[in-house]
Symmetry: D2
């Protein structure tokens, strides 16, 4: 069965498994105090140009969003995001479970546009009753977004300017960060991102790691963040598991190389859809592509290929997502082309 359902269908980059094997019997302290975790954090902070910041290695995306936001928000504050934001939709209410409202604003192709944010904030504070409402405390964006789209540097700067003006924290969900930064048209990099936001993470799980998300607080972590991580069940006893992985990912540019491969495969995937006359629902510069396919074709295709339904199916046609990853091969794309052709004709 061919699988384009997501970018987490394989295990890990070979370099990562090799490193885990190589270090397996070393006796190391737990809870992130091992040499690999420390080295990984140093490399991360260096790559981000913020050696005085703090880095932490967590396990998964929802966990990271939930734990970081819990540390950035006061109990009376909520977090603003686009209505398509992962925290608003597919995290089973993890943020509300922390006690915080997710304040959703209408998004545009997955993006929270600065104009929309400004409109909300000015209206909010113009309302006499605002002290009776959840106070905005942070802005959450995903980069790239859940729709595979990417903020421009200007958009990010405009968001930053607003969050500064209104004393909000800016948090960037980088579960697929590599797939944005490695794009040829991307006009920012890790150090620029570090300047622009209060916290972000370099997603490992979806860019070649077995698990792991590297959180960066460019200006320093909230007080007792280690305890917050523990309290949220996000601390690995064998911290080496994420330490070794990120140490490897940050060596010889492996993270970005893996992401670049996925983007190259995505370009071929897009061409393949175009060749077959498939309608794009959302054509993106990243590794996720959203297309609209007739339901009968989807049924046929399902016999050989896995992909993701996006929302509830339509009556005649449905939106589906295809992902490439660091592990996608040209052979897989060729097979997809054949199955797709057969399904459509």
């Amino acid at each position: 069965m061919l699988n384009f359902a997501s970018d987490y269908t394989e295990g890990a980059l070979p370099e990562i498994l090799e490193a885990l094997l190589r270090t397996n019997l070393e006796q190391l302290p737990g809870y992130g105090d091992d040499v690999y975790s420390k080295r990984a954090k140093e490399k991360i902070l260096k790559a981000c140009g913020c050696p005085d910041g703090d880095a932490f290695l967590l396990v998964g995306g929802t966990q990271t969003n939930s734990t970081v936001l819990a540390s950035l928000l006061m109990p009376y504050e909520g977090v603003i995001c686009a209505d398509t934001g992962h925290i608003a939709c597919h995290e089973a209410g993890a943020i509300e479970h922390q006690g915080h409202k997710v304040i959703t604003l209408p998004g545009k192709d997955g993006l929270l546009l600065p104009g929309e944010l400004e409109h909300y904030l000015t209206s909010f504070y113009a309302d006499d009753t605002y002290t009776h409402m959840v106070q905005p405390g942070a802005v959450y964006i995903s980069y790239p977004t859940e729709w595979g789209t990417v903020y421009s540097l200007d958009q990010l700067k405009a968001l930053r300017s607003l969050t500064e003006k209104y004393h909000l924290k800016l948090f960037v969900d980088g579960a697929r960060l590599g797939y944005a930064l490695a794009g040829p048209s991307c006009d920012l990099d890790l150090p620029v991102l570090a300047v622009l936001c209060d916290a972000f993470y370099i997603g490992g799980t979806k860019v070649g790691a077995l698990c792991g998300e590297a959180v960066v607080f460019p200006k320093g972590a909230p007080r007792s963040f280690f305890t917050t991580v523990k309290q949220n069940g996000a601390l690995l006893a064998k911290g080496r598991l994420t330490g070794v992985q990120f140490d490897t990912l940050l060596t010889d540019d492996l993270y970005m190389r893996a992401a670049r491969h996925a983007l190259n495969m995505a370009e071929e995937l897009k061409q393949l859809f175009r060749d077959e006359g498939v309608d794009f629902f959302m054509e993106t510069p990243t590794n996720q592509q959203f297309v609209t396919l007739p339901n009968p074709a989807l049924e046929k295709l399902k016999e050989h290929v896995l992909f993701s339904m996006w929302g509830a199916p339509g009556e005649e046609k449905s939106v589906v997502r295809f992902c490439t990853s660091w592990a996608t091969t040209k052979e897989q794309l060729e097979s997809l082309r054949e199955y797709l052709h057969a399904a459509l004709h």
Copy 2:
């Protein structure tokens, strides 16, 4: 200063203060175990036609919504409401503070229409990823709504039918319940309401009490609800304070008489607006009326009359709310007419 800002600008109905005075020095047990609280609950359950149900006397509206929903929802569940629902807007995130998402659907004039609810529920369960999302656990409606509108019996039945089909609890915020039930066109009453929902409350604060909301669970309260009330800081040591008030409100139909007076005053208020050519933003059968007034007129009016801004002010005109209550007098309406006339001309 004339005050039409809300229905809680005066103290209490004279009968209530008299009863508090009369019983003041009686020695009574605390925490709702006094004879007045018990009698009030009996009268309430009798009036609702559910003698085997349970009633509890809480203090305020936000507290009641938050405490009751905490008892109806499992931690992984959220509550559905119209986007204008009080719990979604003006309760400072009390529901999220309990750990639950407020799932907002587009409302129509403050109402959550059955079609909208059905659309949401069918789409939700048709989505492959629904176990990754907050599970719907209850539906919240306010009756009357925050816009002063009122569900018809048919609408309520349709909502009930959906909540049964999808195993959801139906909770009715009755902070202003009297102002709906006492209306001449209202086609339901307490016993019908008790049949249709899992929990509702008879709002005291806004219908003539100093404080107090009487929660009714027609089919019996969730287990240990008393402890839940205590845990949420909603248990009065001197339970007599709400006990005496509701005992009085349920005597000689005082609650409904007080509400009816407010509705009569609201009819005169509407006529007064019509006479002055004021545009209604929302004309309602209850004690809240929403009108659009030019900003200069509002400025003038503000010198003599208090009213509520509704949302952020507009550039030229703004929406404002005027409320009547059990305490509104014809003299106050006459004064309002004069100030309004002067402000508009």
Copy 3:
């Protein structure tokens, strides 16, 4: 039935009911923005010698403890208290419901002694694993305690010194504050208390109000505390209810006079127990007295007098609590003497 079960068995001081009656039909803004609430707060801050502090009027004790601690603690912090502390025992887990651990230390007659606190704190930070534990964030004491005992000024200063050294907030539960401060042997007053702690409250419910606790933040309230109050369901729409009461309590020294009466009655109660040869379990300088009585005598006494069982009953004897209050009369004490004598002989 004679009732010594608690200090909240009557309604309110007559002066309070008169004030509620007198102001009943005044039209006042809601949510504490009325003139009485404002005046009450001013009087309170003046009485506490901290005009630049902040005061808030909440409704009940558990609610106040829970809301204030929620505003003082970070999510990873807990609150330290004596094992007999109200928040540790009789608040149904309200603090844990806010997400915070209650860290209990062995108390002495209800008091958290400075030595015990210091031992805990030095041990805590000497433990290598302390970042894996709940971080101490605040110290809670009740004054007077649940056992009716009272901290000396020296003890309070020693606690304060420790909380400053370890960067902890000091919060004083003053649900029965008057019954401590009005005592002839009490060596502190409101201004001294205000200097020594970060937050405390002047309990109304148990000292003659229908409801209401006046929270004082001598150095200013935590940011957005108003919203925190709302979020916790502790904001009255008719804020006048607590405003008028505290305005009255702070007029002509009514609060302290009411407390002093209770203490005078408590002295007579103690003498009465001594006269009858009853064993004190805890003899206190405040309005609560704990005595040990044989179970058969308790059974007889119960036919005529209400009192509080303290913990589970013993096999032969049980500990019970008798309270006096602002409303206790000499006649009631005389009746108690007779019933007690009859029950014991």
Copy 4:
């Protein structure tokens, strides 16, 4: 540096890394829907003799305790445990963060004895005010305990009998389960454990996995537990990571063989301490041994060997913990003997 600080100082059992390598490029669905996770769960339920139960694979211990208890408790309920229970001490308040009180009872060598539990429960319900307190909802025990001790079958049966009588859930933290079950004197096994409790887990992290805890609900999982796992950030996108590991651990008795090795090493460790005349603070049948050593000896030993301080250091002597694991070698024990001898003499 020799490391006896814990049983998580190495990576994973070689068989596990081999399996991860072997399956690395297979394309598998995420979130536990892969063939390895499914097979692991089947094997686990079969080994536990409860094929109709439910199994879930989570990541770490604190996370598992917190997530499972959140699913077993109602919001007004707390969990009872020994005062040395991991959830009471070293989980940074994760349970309170879920809103639940941890009710600690005095333990005996880490064990919660049935008599202590019974005393608490009978006292609790004999107290008139029990509805004002946190309601007991579950009992938590760790097996083996934090002190390396092990409940006998009779003790477990007695605890079970009490939890049934009082309608409490019984939850067993098995972070080190293998180290109890593999002991020669252990009188219970997985199927017996499954009969006796409502939920338990087979700890992977400390018995040879990189990460992973296998939760078993012998009588079926709480409703929507999958969503609860997601909400708590405990769901791996690459569920294969824990799936492959537990599939391997449950193959050819690997889990028990690994545990047995650690116990054999622990016997040699104990002999070594005896040979050197070291005082046991707690001598246990499992892989954790607690000894008391003079501080100067500890200082010398620290130069070559890592171990865990247990609590704050004493003035002259301190309690320290030495652990063996699946990876401990005879050579390491020999080195330890030499360093210890040198440090003591």
